[in-house]
């Protein structure tokens, strides 16, 4: 029984934390949040140089060939630092999709560049308000030309490569296509969002060249599998963020006095912080199992992923909103950093599907496990 990271992995965590303390202070987040840039290109370059974008990509495709346990360590730290870079899109979604279903040719074409961070990838499923499903898709591919609108696409304005879910007449109703975003017939419109430290866009495809990724008519199951894998990684980002929010709240409460004593000595605050700790701990422990299931490709990955995801969403929403509350008036100012977590928590809970969607998936996985 060993339910802990290895010494090397812990070393990587320390290294990553130190690097991000130096290179991704909240000032860096603030600059992207307030400025015109869609992401911090300098940070992205450094992160790629550190090899983080290459973590799990096999060496034959220019990657480091490390395990997902290394990747979740990095995810946690990126979440903690709220890094304003397209890491989740490019690494958890695009790279994973190409790794899983790319032909040898597609892998050779894209993985080395994704691993090197030269290319930013993303995934486009949603076509507007509400829950997407195979039957709700309107985008289509006909004769290798993709048409339709995807909204929102995270990092859609800066990505070079997008994996697009389109309607299919057979199978599960959808197929995945790989599209080079440098084509003229693709219109990209940035959209204003709740968390401007991560950019989103509307993509209009007007007969863009598209290559099938994987099997025609299996796109919806591919998306679900991709989401399961990404859910674990997103959850680690959420756990990182939750812990950072708890630490902020704790530090403030220890230093802030009211009625002659630290507000951290009032049970209303103590129990609030204890509740954060409890949610964070449950989320973290569920993430451990998720990481193991992801790394070993365990049969109950869907359950492990949904559990980590729901726990991560709940922990980060709670910690981020109650961190503001603990800060009182100051927490509600633009000047303090509390709102970064509040925005990011909400964004991460909407990417790849909401709490309700994942609660339902969790029980479906439980039913499946019980039946098996």
């Amino acid at each position: 029984m060993n339910f802990e990271f290895s010494e090397e992995q812990n070393l990587l965590r320390d290294q990553a934390r130190g690097f991000l303390l130096d290179n991704c202070s909240t000032r860096v987040v603030r600059d992207v949040l307030e400025g015109d840039a869609s992401y911090d290109a300098a940070l992205w370059k450094k992160v790629a140089e550190m090899g983080w974008t290459a973590t799990v990509i096999p060496e034959e495709y220019g990657g480091l060939g490390l395990s997902y346990l290394e990747l979740v360590v990095i995810a946690e730290e990126l979440g903690r630092a709220m890094a304003p870079i397209p890491f989740s899109s490019s690494v958890y979604l695009a790279s994973e999709a190409v790794l899983a279903w790319g032909s040898e040719e597609q892998k050779l074409a894209w993985l080395p560049r994704l691993a090197a961070g030269e290319v930013i990838g993303t995934l486009a499923v949603s076509e507007g308000q509400g829950q997407a499903s195979a039957t709700s898709l309107n985008a289509t591919v006909s004769g290798g030309a993709l048409s339709g609108t995807k909204l929102p696409v995270i990092d859609g304005d800066i990505a070079d490569l997008v994996i697009v879910a389109v309607k299919s007449d057979g199978g599960d109703g959808a197929s995945l296509y790989l599209v080079d975003l440098t084509q003229d017939c693709i219109e990209r419109t940035p959209v204003r969002t709740l968390d401007p430290s991560r950019s989103q866009a509307r993509l209009d495809f007007n007969g863009a060249n598209a290559e099938l990724l994987g099997i025609e008519g299996r796109g919806w199951s591919q998306v679900q599998n991709l989401y399961d894998r990404a859910a674990v990684l997103f959850a680690w980002e959420q756990v990182g963020g939750s812990d950072a929010a708890l630490e902020m709240a704790k530090d403030y409460a220890m230093g802030r006095f009211a009625f002659g004593r630290a507000i951290a000595s009032y049970q209303a605050i103590k129990h609030k912080l204890a509740a954060m700790y409890v949610k964070n701990t449950l989320a973290r422990s569920n993430c451990y199992y998720g990481a193991w299931a992801l790394e070993t490709n365990a049969p109950d990955l869907p359950l492990a992923a949904a559990t980590a995801r729901v726990a991560g969403i709940q922990a980060y929403y709670f910690a981020s909103k109650e961190n503001i509350q603990t800060h009182g008036g100051m927490g509600y100012t633009w000047e303090f950093d509390c709102h970064f977590h509040y925005r990011r928590a909400k964004l991460l809970s909407l990417n790849i599907g909401s709490e309700g969607t994942w609660q339902d998936k969790l029980v479906t996985a439980l039913e499946h496990n019980n039946a098996a």
Binding site: Q131, T193, F257, G329, T333, E355
Partner: protein, 405 residues
């Protein structure tokens, strides 16, 4: 039990409706005016016709009306007007404090009618950065200098400071006595030299509040309200006049808007409103929403029988703010990935849910945090004991603070 007005109430309501019908400014009247000017135009008309500051004495521009008449007028006014209310602090809090504590009748005649008519706007300078929930822990210094006082320090969360003509101010005139005993209360002209006003940007991106810095600001002693050291008693008068949160208004994320959305978006390829989790949440929120509405009706009934609303009104904000936060968050979940989009055109109801999501953390804090509201209910409604007070009876400048702690 009867939802209808009494005959007297009905008569008053009809009168109010008639006035509003005849006098509420047209779009043409408002043209070219900024929101403050629009509010002033309307205030002037009310004043000129005896419909402003209804509960004030007629002498100062009021109508000597009953609390329930005020409520009825507010209800009717709310139906025709969506103007902001820059006079709330002046008319609702500063005016009553002046009437209670100002012994100089000239001053009352000078200031109150212009407050009532909206010609002059007042703000409230109470909160300080180090104070927060500990309202009386003010540090802004007042030192006597002949017939004047010299003020140095900083106030925060002052809404409307930049467009206000006058302000009410609580200062610490003696830091060597216990917290509540060393305060002195003034009113002052906001154009006095030495006052600097800086807007505070909130997380929602807007700026409704200010920081106000005082550097050697002189206030004549004649503008002191109450005795030296009696500032906390005067401040309590002001705070007791904080408008009881009857009816509410403002934020409009509610069961109705979330239901509308749930009828529009799908879950499992069916309208989300058919999803039992969505329904259970809506039911719980409706229970709270309706419960608050009917609680306010009970308060109205008590008002109409002459009693004053008590601390039990804290329940409105305590329940309403976290509920609205969760509703806004859930509504965004219903939109799934699009929930993060915050855009007048692309977002449902022009981004109401996203805007509310960012605005609501402020409501859980302003005017008393959730935690303070729960304390108020525990102590003032249920009569439970206060917690041990570490600052009781200790000179203010010896109380542990973050700075010294």
């Amino acid at each position: 039990m009867d939802f209808n007005d009494t005959p007297q109430e009905a008569a008053f309501r009809a009168e109010a409706q008639a006035f509003l019908k005849d006098y509420y400014p047209t779009a043409e009247d408002f043209k070219g005016l900024n929101p403050i000017e629009q509010a002033q135009l309307w205030a002037k008309r009310k004043f000129d016709n005896g419909w402003s500051t209804l509960r004030w004495p007629k002498d100062y521009g009021g109508r000597d009306a009953s609390p329930i008449e005020q409520v009825i007028f507010n209800q009717e006014e709310g139906k025709v007007s969506d103007l902001g209310d820059p006079f709330q602090i002046g008319q609702g809090m500063a005016g009553p404090t002046l009437m209670a504590w100002c012994k100089n009748k000239d001053y009352l005649e000078r200031y109150l009618p212009k407050l009532s008519s909206g010609e002059e706007i007042w703000c409230q300078l109470f909160s300080e950065p180090a104070g927060g929930s500990d309202l009386a822990a003010m540090r802004t210094k007042a030192e006597r200098d002949g017939d004047d006082w010299i003020i140095n320090g900083q106030k925060i969360w002052t809404s409307g400071a930049h467009y206000s003509d006058f302000g009410i101010l609580v200062t610490r005139s003696d830091p060597t006595v216990p917290k509540h005993k060393g305060l002195t209360y003034f009113f002052l002209d906001m154009k006095t030299p030495g006052i600097e006003i800086k807007p505070i940007k909130q997380i929602s991106g807007t700026s409704n509040f200010n920081e106000v810095y005082f550097t050697d600001v002189r206030i004549p002693d004649s503008q002191r309200l109450g005795d030296v050291g009696q500032g906390w008693s005067v401040a309590l008068t002001t705070l007791m006049n904080e408008r009881a949160a009857i009816g509410g208004g403002g934020v409009s994320v509610g069961v109705k808007s979330v239901m509308q959305l749930a009828q529009k978006v799908n879950i499992d390829d069916k309208p989300a409103i058919e999803d039992k989790q969505v329904r259970a949440k809506l039911a719980d929120w409706y229970v709270q929403e309706a419960g608050l509405k009917f609680t306010s009706y009970r308060t109205l009934t008590a008002l109409s029988r002459g009693s004053t609303p008590g601390p039990e009104n804290s329940i409105g904000k305590l329940v309403g703010a976290p509920k609205t936060q969760d509703m806004a968050s859930f509504a965004m979940d219903l939109m799934e990935e699009s929930g993060a989009i915050w855009d007048d055109e692309l977002s449902e109801l022009a981004g109401l849910f996203q805007g509310t999501f960012l605005a609501i953390p402020g409501l859980r804090i302003a005017g008393g945090t959730d935690e303070i509201m729960a304390n108020i209910i525990a102590e003032r409604v249920l009569g439970l004991p206060q917690e041990p007070r570490m600052d009781k009876g200790i000179p203010f400048n010896e109380v542990p603070t973050s700075a010294k702690g």
